[in-house]
């Protein structure tokens, strides 16, 4: 019996090896292509389903807020896009890390395909926030810490999108963009905590990990469904783009075999 329990160091070692195997197994572009092709319809349709339910409930059936009235309904689009703006950039930074450290081909492609979707989410977040700011605060835009840090995030996305495509040698583009993505990750905690560290016009978060949410349940449920739908929609868009990118690389490799070493993935 006792010799069946392995020593601790051995367990952690096997765990690291297993994690490494896990990543090597699923991060292979070909395997990723097959798996994502299989799950793409499920992701797409559940995204449509949850977005439809969440937005329908939020925009038409949830109660108006006691102080903001019907304008509060912009929240059901604003909050999911705000979360996806930050989450998308975190994913971009993870891709950047694996580009720089492991020189992973799938991470290069993923960084290229995530950035435009994330930039759209950030733009939507800024636009809806501005449209809500006018009737509520009395202004479309102020230079407070929360709004400014999100605008910087939008510019980081735009910089990443142009930098990754700016080089003749694709590898150099991937690496330059990876450095930008990793440097910009500092903006994420600033966005998150800006409303707590400095006084801002933007209100603090209603949903936090540590406190009970300060939002009535009749508004929280449609918001959660809408967040789920938008997040699945983000994944569906990224999967579709990434699959197209993998196919594009394959076709280029077939058509121009001589470029294989330098210019592919």
């Amino acid at each position: 019996m006792p010799d069946s329990i392995p020593p601790r160091s051995c367990t952690s070692h096997t765990m690291i090896t297993r994690t490494r195997h896990f990543f090597h197994y699923y991060a292979n572009p070909g395997r990723f292509y097959h798996i994502s092709t299989r799950i793409q319809p499920y992701v797409t349709y559940s995204a449509l389903f949850f977005t439809f339910i969440g937005l329908g409930w939020g925009l038409f059936f949830s109660p108006p807020d006691w102080q903001q009235g019907d304008t509060v309904r912009i929240m059901y689009i604003h909050v999911p896009t705000a979360i996806l703006a930050s989450a998308g950039y975190a994913a971009l930074a993870l891709c950047g890390l694996s580009t720089l450290v492991w020189q992973h081909p799938l991470a290069n492609l993923a960084a290229m395909e995530i950035a435009p979707v994330g930039a759209c989410a950030t733009a939507l977040c800024l636009i809806t926030g501005s449209l809500r700011g006018k009737p509520m605060w009395g202004t479309y835009w102020v230079w407070d810490a929360r709004l400014t840090s999100v605008l910087i995030l939008f510019f980081l996305y735009l910089g990443h999108i142009s930098l990754i495509r700016a080089f003749e040698d694709k590898q150099r583009g991937y690496q330059a963009a990876a450095i930008l993505a990793l440097a910009g990750v500092i903006d994420l905690p600033i966005i998150k905590f800006s409303v707590d560290w400095w006084n801002t016009l933007h209100q603090p978060d209603s949903i936090t990990l540590t406190r009970a949410p300060t939002i009535s349940r009749s508004m929280l449920w449609p918001l959660i469904l809408s967040m789920l739908g938008f997040s699945l929609g983000f994944c569906a868009l990224v999967f579709a783009r990434l699959r197209a990118a993998i196919l594009e690389v394959r076709i280029r490799a077939l058509l121009f075999p001589s470029h294989r070493r330098s210019n592919i993935v």
């Binding site: 109660p63 108006p64 807020d65 006691w66 102080q67 903001q68 009235g69 509060v72 929240m75 890390l97 720089l100 450290v101 492991w102 009737p135 509520m136 605060w137 009395g138 202004t139 102020v142 230079w143 407070d144 810490a145 990793l182 440097a183 990750v185 500092i186 600033i190 560290w197 400095w198 006084n199 801002t200 016009l201 209100q203 603090p204 978060d205 209603s206 406190r211 009970a212 949410p213 300060t214 939002i215 009535s216 349940r217 009749s218 508004m219």
Partner: protein, 161 residues
């Protein structure tokens, strides 16, 4: 240590250094990053005349007075941070959310120690969201009156729906 591990450490150390640098910069500039100053800050160290400042605080219940100067509406109200209050005069249209007990940010100049002339009024809403009926029920039961500031955090445990 393999080359990959070395690269990983290098990247992580670079991020840590860069993050520390940004953190120190933000700390150094934190007094400029704040969007508004409070009434007690203005009373303690008045800004120079004609300098545009943003003053933030809560509208004191019962202090709002409307009058008319020629054709434009003039409103005076007190803005407080709980320690001291400043009387604000504003000519123009107020945002929809403006009411007693609401947090506001007024942009304008300090005219004397406790007086302020605003050129712009912004309403700040807090992070509580609830249907109107819930807010009315809370007011009726005496648990919370919106004229005296944001709701206490514990009302949420008994009154969610």
């Amino acid at each position: 240590m393999t080359r990959k591990t070395r690269r990983l450490w290098l990247v992580l150390i670079c991020i840590a250094c860069f993050g520390t640098a940004i953190g120190l910069i933000l700390r150094a500039f934190s007094s400029d990053i704040v969007f508004f100053v409070t009434p007690s800050q203005i009373v303690a160290s008045p800004p120079p005349d004609h300098r545009l400042v943003k003053l933030g605080g809560m509208v004191v219940a019962g202090s709002v007075h409307y009058s008319k100067h020629k054709e434009t509406p003039v409103v005076t109200f007190d803005v407080t941070d709980g320690r001291t209050a400043v009387t604000v005069t504003y000519q123009g249209i107020l945002p929809d959310l403006f009411r007693e007990g609401q947090s506001v940010i007024v942009i304008g100049t300090v005219t004397s120690k406790h007086r302020f002339t605003a050129s712009e009024v912004l309403a700040k809403h807090d992070e509580t969201y609830m249907p109107k009926e819930v807010a009315d029920a809370l007011r009726k039961s005496g648990k919370w009156d919106p004229r005296f500031g944001p709701p206490p955090p514990d009302i949420w445990h008994s009154n969610q729906n």
